[in-house]
Subunit: 185 residues, 2 copies
DNA sequence: GCTATGAATGTAATAGTATAACATGTCAAG
DNA sequence: CTTGACATGTTATACTATTACATTCATAGC
């Protein structure tokens, strides 16, 4: 049973990052969220496991809200707005004010368990926490699918440019907007 | 007279992008805004000239609001929030509702005359409009200085990664946060 | 000239995103 | 058991951005 979670999620999942939402996008309407279909339940629990391990080894406090927030991001497997996350949390008995979501999301981001996608004002679970990686995001402008790609070479090029300017990079956001394979004409 | 505009601007200029604003940052408190001091009046009028030329050659309508918006960005030579721009425009007799600023800024961005810096929710004039270029921004987290650097190699690396994923990049935001030369310990 | 047309602007109202500030609770070290 | 650090809950508010509609302006065609 290779793709258990690959059909349209229940009614529980409204939208990635709100606005332009052609749900009928050829390949992206399939909620498999990277650009290729895959066993999401697997990669999800996998990532959660690594998050637990990372928290244990670093002494991070992956409290209930934080862990649940991460699970929510992993389950939906797409970029969620802070208020989307908040609604879910509130429905499950956690606080229902914005700081609840923002604090959890900030924590996750700070420790590399999630990423913030500024173009979408949204957050997404990191698919390989713990590994040193400079994430870059490919965002489909039609279906809003988001894919985190390895960007070591990109980051290297960026570091070179920065060094030339005497600038020291601490964090970088690399976000590309365009068309995913499924949405391309 | 090499640096005509390099002393703290009048009281007219409140702030780049609001929040964390140590004005006493060693080198960045000097309003020379790239990381090195330079003749800002020159590069500013230079950029404006190129914008005019570009508009003429492409048949763009660089109307008063739009041109003035660009001037405002160039004058301040830093990243300005939409509402910063709006306040200035309103003070000069243009409309005082958000769409006035957003429309002008969107126009400028669309035609490569300005860039949007998502990390700061701010906008900055493009320093070399017309030239095909993939801009990358270096943002100092202490003084908020923003520098646009040439990022052709960065963009090339990103394109490679995207192609591998079957993704077609149309636009990209590359933003690095860190320490500028003047703010480095 | 005169008007039809589309683009640009003005304006009001509202939606969406994020943070400050303070109170309360929890847990572990001493 | 107390202290102190961190985490959470909650209120209020600030900041960013868009929708919708009315009006004005420029231009091309008659």
């Amino acid at each position: 049973m290779p793709h258990p979670a690959t059909k349209p999620q229940p009614a529980t999942m409204p939208h990635p990052a709100t606005k332009p939402q052609p749900e009928d996008c050829p390949g992206c309407a399939t909620p498999a969220l990277a650009f290729a279909p895959h066993d999401h339940a697997h990669c999800s629990s996998d990532a959660l496991g690594r998050a637990d391990a990372l928290a244990a080894s670093l002494g991070l406090r992956l409290t209930p809200v934080r862990r649940r927030t991460l699970e929510i991001l992993l389950e939906s497997h797409r970029a969620l707005g802070a208020y989307d996350v908040l609604n879910r949390l509130a429905a499950e008995g956690f606080g229902n004010q914005p700081p609840v979501a923002y604090r959890a999301l900030d924590f996750l981001e700070e420790h590399g368990l999630a990423h913030r996608i500024r173009r979408l004002n949204a957050f997404t679970a990191c698919m390989h926490p713990g590994e040193a990686h400079a994430p870059a995001f490919l965002i489909c402008r039609l279906c809003n699918a988001v894919s985190e790609t390895a960007a070591a070479p990109v980051r290297a090029a960026l570091d070179t440019a920065a060094t030339t300017a005497g600038f020291t990079i601490e964090r970088a956001n690399i976000e590309a907007l365009g068309l995913c394979p499924a949405c391309r004409p």
